[in-house]
Symmetry: C2
Subunit: 299 residues, 2 copies
């Protein structure tokens, strides 16, 4: 958005990513019994772009929210994301052996441990939002729990995954495909923005604009994901490339072609930027840059 | 505890069980997409003794807590229990085909849907605790979320399950066996009592006594479970009998023999009753009766 932005953003991102890694390492217990802690840490640490935590932190910074709450919400969103990857990779779901360039959790620790690690990560996400030491206002903890539960559950991520499983070999039209992704990946990405907003007290018009931004960014993320599934190789992605086509899953590329999907990603990202401009917030450069980053990602 | 109790308790239990069934049916969505809602409702409705919800409601009544909060917490505890059964029954865990006399969720809906239904039920449990309509005080919602997250996670139920999986064929001594069960089944049963207490404002000594009661009741439940695994048949249990011995899992019966385990169950239940007598609460008849019910259950 701004010629000076890329370097500034890269510095911001690196600094925040380092803080997020430290916080995740502190929050995910290594003393959990019978190897469970080891599996949980393997699932969460040392990998990932941390897009969801970055969205939480950037939104918190834009609205002048409570930093301690934002770091906890950032980690909680990442734990939900991490648990979903662990469960999605299991043989009964996508049956994938490679994630972030490493063996998936069930390959490394066995299916039962992977199942439990995912379950425990989901519980831990909610635990983080209610520290129990009074460091977060109760009303904020309660709101963060509600936002996260809605994003993770049957109307959000888990529901989207169910639709995805039922869609193999089915020719979805664009509204149906978008409805699936709004739940499957969009809900948690959008919630990352609204979690960040909930660490402050934005005006309702600002919150509405941020919510729109999150929705567009979430959709753009998925369109780009579908493009990368076709154009990138497994080594770059750190996961198995081409698996959507192999699984006969409907994608934005199968629906509108590669060129059409790329144009659509640009269009959706433009709407994300528009929403930010409507927010009335003074400090939106980082959120604009995060939208650009989603559009430009190569893995 | 009291000659007049059984009939009074039976009436209380029937009335509350009916209310719990209605609340669960209202809270667990049938409109969740792609069959997910159907699998979630199948996992939760029409079966089960509802011991955890009954503990929440009885404790709420003893401490004069907020009824609306207690019914939500009761259902949340049951959803965590139900999700754990769905995941535990999956082929990669206990591989069981029968539960409450019906085919298990993965047998009926497939493994992927069972995995997702469990995941969505856990998220829904937390959603229930933060209604979003102001009907529960934020501080109460936050505390309920924290108690449930701790009971469900790596230090609670999920951690206990990991220890259980690692214990097949291992000769645990009594402290190790109790430590496993304190997490695996005890944490959520104890949390059912502390969730109920958190709907009110008991004095700290009362809360400590109730917490002890919950711990003893949780342990007694597991000792009786181990006894029933040996003495009951599958039709009575509604699940596969004898599976612990078949799986070479350590149990209280394998550790102390059938007679020893029965004496131990009585001893632990006596401690539960003692704790209640220390609570200073005026109305504990229902909680006493629930402890007796745990001791007398035949399925």
């Amino acid at each position: 958005m701004n010629a000076a932005m890329p370097d500034t953003f890269a510095a911001w991102r690196s600094a925040r990513q380092a803080e997020i890694e430290q916080a995740l390492s502190r929050f995910v217990p290594d003393q959990a019994p019978a190897g469970l802690g080891e599996a949980m840490r393997y699932a969460v640490l040392d990998g990932g772009k941390r897009l969801r935590p970055l969205l939480v932190l950037a939104t918190c910074e834009s609205v002048g929210g409570l930093r301690e709450a934002a770091m906890r919400a950032a980690c909680a969103a990442e734990l939900i994301h991490a648990y979903s990857l662990v469960h999605d990779d299991m043989p009964c779901m996508d049956d994938d052996v490679l994630r972030r360039g490493k063996p998936t959790v069930h390959v490394k620790f066995g299916e039962a441990q992977a199942l439990l690690a995912g379950d425990a990560l989901q519980a831990l996400a909610f635990e983080l939002l209610v520290p129990g030491d009074g460091s977060l206002p109760d009303a904020m903890s309660a709101r963060l729990c509600r936002l996260l539960a809605l994003a993770a559950g049957a109307d959000g991520m888990a529901g989207g995954q169910a639709v995805d499983l039922a869609s193999v070999g089915v020719a979805l039209d664009q509204p149906a495909l978008e409805a699936m992704h709004r739940r499957k990946t969009g809900a948690l990405l959008q919630a990352s923005v609204t979690l960040g907003a909930a660490t402050g007290a934005p005006a309702s018009a600002t919150l509405a604009a941020l919510t729109d931004y999150g929705a567009h960014l979430g959709l753009a993320f998925q369109v780009v994901d579908d493009i990368l599934d076709v154009t990138a190789d497994s080594a770059t992605l750190g996961k198995t490339a081409g698996k959507d086509a192999a699984a006969d899953k409907p994608t934005f590329v199968s629906l509108m072609g590669l060129t059409g999907a790329q144009a659509y990603a640009d269009d959706v990202l433009a709407r994300a930027h528009d929403a930010l401009r409507r927010s009335g917030l003074a400090e939106t450069a980082t959120l604009h840059a995060l939208a650009d980053w989603v559009g430009q990602r190569r893995s």
